[in-house]
Amino acid sequence: MPSSMPATSTRKTAATVPEAAARFSTGDAVRVANGAVFGHVRTPQYVRGKIGTVERICGRFRAPEELSRGKYDGAQRALYRVRFLQVEVWPDYHGDPSDTLDVEIYEHWLEPVRTKR
């Protein structure tokens, strides 16, 4: 049975990220960049502009934007698992207000949030 999607080999070889190589740390509040998007990105539109918290650092990988354009030797970027409150993502969310949603987002999509709320 075929797997759903072949992984890129960058994914297989990526090592655990030393904390120093990542801009954000676990627990940091981050805002997802928003604005016009051209071409292939892995950041879904429903989290753009939203504020979440770094749940973990997943590793370092090449950027999908570059890989999708045939650039296979670009810089590796930290990938974070960012945890959002569902009520932050969906204004009309009716579930438990403590429900969360995790999305893996590359460092170049994230901005620091100075004042936690």
Partner: protein, 130 residues
Amino acid sequence: MNELTATAHHDVGGAPGHEPIPREQHAFLPWELRVDALMWILGDAGRPGGRRMTVDELRRGIESLSPDQYRSLGYYEKWLTSLVAIMREKGIVSGAELRKRLAEVTIAHEGEHALEHAGDEHAQDGGDRA
């Protein structure tokens, strides 16, 4: 939804659903397995000539389909359409080569079909080719 990003018709997370998603798995057809295998081969950096494409390029091709194609094509039809487009974009295969090869396999397939049904007096064109 941000107005500037709302035009990415493949990015449907959170959009109202139009119809229920069928969740039962179907058996893979031989051509679907071949498309899957082809993608693995093209993405293998260890093969002679190196990696020919990445899954990110596959996704770019799929996301570049028209909204109509995106809705109507099946999963591996999208893969195949994208894979062919990326191979043509890179000049690894040309449209002429693809048309020539397609004509060859079409003739070969029709030959096999004729042999299978040789002596079958009820054989009709357009019969079961599964």
